[in-house]
């Protein structure tokens, strides 16, 4: 559609207009598909679509005439690379909640767009809705006169609407018009009727359909419907019938029956639709439901509302997503969290008779550091806040229980209260209890609010489990390595090891002896410690390795290598073996991998059938690298005779042929050559043929291959046959004639 575009720089201030628009580009757009001369709805839609494609947001600055074609001049603002007002609103709302100021950048380009949108008579309710939403954030300077026409248009749409989205957009726009103060009294005349029409689209399980003859009902649509109903209630000129509100509250409770659950305690909604096109993910569905729920709860007060732990579960779902991948998902997440946070603000406007909402505000407990070091004397710190990080009301955090992970023994800690540091808003424990030793634990926290009244307002959930790893410096002592005699158990050599420092023992053993390594490990609190990994590695000079696991008894770690049984495993390789000890654990701050020294093993000779040691990996460059270059040695050709000798013999060979011809002449046989013309020709041809065959043979020897020769020979042979037959038969007949004579 953007054909014949020319992009030029444009400096602002042409008409003294403000704000400055430097940094934008002019795009001259020729829209051949749109009939620019007509000003009807179709051409407007066409132009509108052309302007809002390809991630450019255009606004018109003028019209120029090029030849006979009217070309409209637009400015494309590169800073706002969105395709629609809906996405603009989502981006701005996300910035607003996160506290990022972008109005100064965005307002100059977007406000005129909003004005145009609101002024255009062909804008759909969806466009109006999002234009007003954006305006609510940017607060553009729009005169109120626009809104007379819009208001009456919207009221008409509301009366005639039949689909859920029509209701939603039109009612939402009216609410926004009222909120932004463009019109003083925006009221819905027949609130009960409208409420009823929206309610009619609901299903018995709490879901809503989009229209009366539309496809299946979804939770996503239910969220939209609840927002629309909230709008109706807030705009009603007379109070909506309470019984209808109660039925909607019942629907909300039924909706919560279809809440699904993740293992970590997160709750979410998901529509299971057969139609994949319409499918919104769990995030989109849940955020729609939460928006609807909180909107409805804001304008009504009721007795039935979802329990606090489910609200907390929804908050955990949103938080547990982390940072989503797309802008829309981010908006859904942040906006829902903001709804869960902000619904505590009581509306002190004309609805002062209503109480504050009964959708509880979730309080989230988090532990910033889950690895605590006993050596550094780390303190256990816990933070409690609302979902977006605002302060929580006064409360106490209690550490109820701490289980060592992996064992179901009784808790090592009972009911410790954490102190509160108001400066950093952190709850902490001065020092970890003495019963907490090195290892992995599951700590159970509980939040206790100081003001019991607030229990209805805030959702704290029951106990929160957090996995904490406590690390420390493990003492290793009484490390010894011994060579024992197998039979008698007497010690031949014994050496102490210092496993904190360097070691270089030098032992020797034969196959009748045993090697014993032992050491003890103790935690800072004096308990025996069992590491996750304890390996002993013996490595031969030929790089053959053997790894053994060091076992543990009650008191200490030890490993006995009985060489008599290991002879076969070692492939009967005698020689020097390097010893290496590896001890490690997640909770151990001084895990190590140490070379202890070497042992010279003397093993017997391998029998014939012994297994060979496995091939060690060779240097890859040797195997895959370039090989030595080989020069090809050709077979020495046989000694050929000297050139002269061969030529002499050639001459000798030809001599008899000459003698033959001489003999022919002397014999006088040439008299019998036919003198008549025709037979003479045949005779000549016969001799010529034979000569040709002999020539062919010469060529065959020199150059040709057998098949060509055979082909030529075939032709020549046929020729020769005919000719020869004629010649010889002629001669035969002449002889026969002569004979009787």
């Amino acid at each position: 559609m953007l054909q014949n575009t020319r992009i030029e720089d444009f400096q602002s201030g042409q008409n003294g207009q403000k704000p400055r628009i430097s940094g934008s580009v002019i795009v001259i757009i020729d829209l051949p598909c749109c009939d620019l001369s007509a000003n009807n709805r179709d051409s407007q839609i066409c132009r509108f679509r052309a302007l809002y494609t390809n991630r450019w947001v255009f606004r018109k600055v003028g019209i120029e005439l090029y030849g006979l074609n009217k070309k409209e001049l637009y400015i494309a603002d590169l800073m706002l690379a969105v395709t629609s007002l809906e996405e603009t609103y989502e981006a701005l709302r996300t910035f607003e909640i996160l506290g990022i100021e972008r109005k100064a950048d965005i307002s100059p380009a977007t406000c005129p767009l909003i004005v145009e949108n609101l002024g255009s008579s062909s804008s759909s309710p969806k466009d109006l809705f999002y234009a007003l939403k954006v305006n609510g954030i940017l607060k553009c300077d729009i005169s109120a006169k626009f809104f007379e026409g819009i208001h009456s248009k919207l009221q008409a749409i509301v009366k005639d609407a039949s689909s859920l989205l029509d209701f939603y957009y039109s009612i939402g726009s009216l609410v926004l018009i009222k909120e932004q103060g463009f019109k003083s009294n925006v009221l819905l005349g027949d609130a009960d009727g409208i409420f009823h029409s929206i309610k009619a689209l609901s299903q018995s399980d709490g879901r809503w359909r989009h229209s009366s003859n539309g496809p299946g009902s979804t939770i996503h649509a239910a969220g939209i419907a609840l927002e629309a109903l909230a709008g109706v209630v807030s705009l009603a000129s007379t109070e909506v019938d309470q019984s209808m509100i109660d039925t909607v509250e019942n629907d909300i409770m039924k909706l919560f029956d279809s809440l699904e659950r993740y293992d970590g305690g997160a709750f979410y909604f998901d529509d299971k639709l057969l139609d994949a096109r319409e499918h919104q993910g769990p995030l989109s569905t849940t955020s729609s439901a939460v928006r609807g729920l909180t909107a409805f709860a804001t304008v009504t007060s009721g007795s039935l509302y979802p329990p606090g732990d489910k609200i907390l579960g929804l908050a955990k779902f949103f938080i547990g997503i982390g940072i989503p991948g797309s802008a829309k998902d981010l908006f859904n997440q942040i906006d829902s969290l903001a709804s869960l946070e902000n619904n505590r603000q009581s509306k002190n406007d004309s609805f002062s008779s209503r109480k504050t909402t009964l959708v509880s505000i979730p309080l989230i407990l988090s532990v910033p550091a889950t690895v605590l070091s006993l050596t550094k004397k780390d303190q256990l710190k816990v933070k409690v806040s609302t979902v977006l990080g605002s302060d929580a009301p006064p409360l106490t955090v209690k550490l109820m229980e701490a289980f060592s992970s992996g064992s179901k023994d009784s808790s090592v800690v009972e009911n410790q209260e954490l102190k509160f540091d108001p400066e950093n808003s952190v709850h902490f424990l001065d020092a970890l209890p003495k019963s907490i030793d090195v290892g992995k634990y599951i700590f159970s926290f509980e939040i206790v609010l100081h003001d019991p009244e607030q229990k209805k307002v805030y959702a704290t959930g029951g106990q929160t489990q957090v996995l904490i790893v406590v690390t420390g410096f493990i003492k290793i002592d009484t490390a010894e390595i011994t060579v024992l005699d197998s039979d008698l158990g007497s010690i031949e050599t014994k050496q102490k090891l210092d496993l904190y420092g360097e070691n270089a023992v030098s032992l020797s053993a034969n196959h009748l002896q045993k090697l014993l390594l032992s050491f003890q490990m103790t935690t800072p609190h004096g308990h025996a410690f069992k590491p996750h990994q304890a390996f002993l590695k013996l490595r031969h000079e030929s790089k053959v390795e053997h790894i053994f696991v060091v076992g543990s008894s009650v008191k200490q770690f030890e490993i006995v290598l009985d060489f008599l049984g290991l002879v076969e495993k070692f492939y009967y390789l005698s020689g020097r073996y390097d010893i290496q000890l590896t001890v490690g654990d997640a909770a151990m701050e001084n895990s190590f991998l140490q070379a202890l020294g070497h042992v010279n093993l003397d093993l017997p000779e391998p029998p014939e059938k012994a297994a060979r040691p496995p091939l060690q990996p060779v240097d890859h460059y040797l195997r895959y690298g370039p090989k030595q270059e080989i020069t090809h040695i050709f077979r020495t050709p046989g000694k050929l005779p000297a050139q002269e000798l061969s030529l002499t013999f050639l001459g000798l060979t030809l001599l008899p042929f000459v003698g033959f011809l001489l003999g022919l002449i002397s014999l006088g046989n040439l008299k019998k050559f036919p003198t008549l013309v025709v037979p003479a020709i045949f005779a000549i041809l016969f001799h010529v043929g034979i000569a040709a065959v002999l020539l062919l043979y010469m060529l065959f020897w020199l150059k040709l291959d057998l098949f060509t020769t055979l082909k030529a020979l075939g032709f020549l042979g046929i020729f020769l046959f005919f000719v020869g037959h004629r010649t010889l038969s002629h001669i035969a007949s002449t002889s026969a004639k002569l004979k009787p004579a």
């Binding site: 046989g638 000694k639 050929l640 005779p641 000798l645 061969s646 013999f649 000798l652 060979t653 008899p656 003698g659 033959f660 003999g663 022919l664 014999l667 046989n669 019998k672 034979i690 065959v693 002999l694 043979y697 010469m698 065959f700 020897w701 057998l706 020769t709 020979l713 042979g717 020869g724 037959h725 010889l728 038969s729 001669i731 035969a732 002889s735």
Partner: protein
């Protein structure tokens, strides 16, 4: 051998036994050559030898067939024998050339 009894062509080829002698001379020459220069390539030597031998044999056959005093071949026209001789020679020489290499 009586030269006048023989028809024209056979006199040409057969020529009173001198022909066979000629081929025998050839044979001896080839063998001597080989003895001097060695038997590489051996196939060439063999083809030389066989050529001499084969042609001598064919010549002898022709003489036998043409000789009027030979009872077995009385009805065979000498021209036919000569034509056979020519054909066999051609085939022999083809094989020889192939083997010569």
């Amino acid at each position: 051998m009586q030269d006048s009894n023989k028809p024209y062509e056979t006199k040409v080829i057969v020529g009173g036994g001198e022909k066979v002698q000629q081929w025998s001379v050839y044979l001896i020459a080839v063998v001597v050559y080989m003895a001097i220069v060695g038997s590489f390539p051996f196939n060439s030597f063999l083809s030389g030898v066989l050529s001499c031998v084969g042609t001598a044999v064919l010549a002898i056959c022709l003489r036998i067939q043409v000789n009027k005093e030979n009872k077995e071949f009385k009805d065979l026209p000498p021209e036919r024998a000569f034509a056979d001789f020519v054909l066999c020679n051609l085939v022999l020489h083809l094989v020889i050339m192939n083997f010569l290499g």
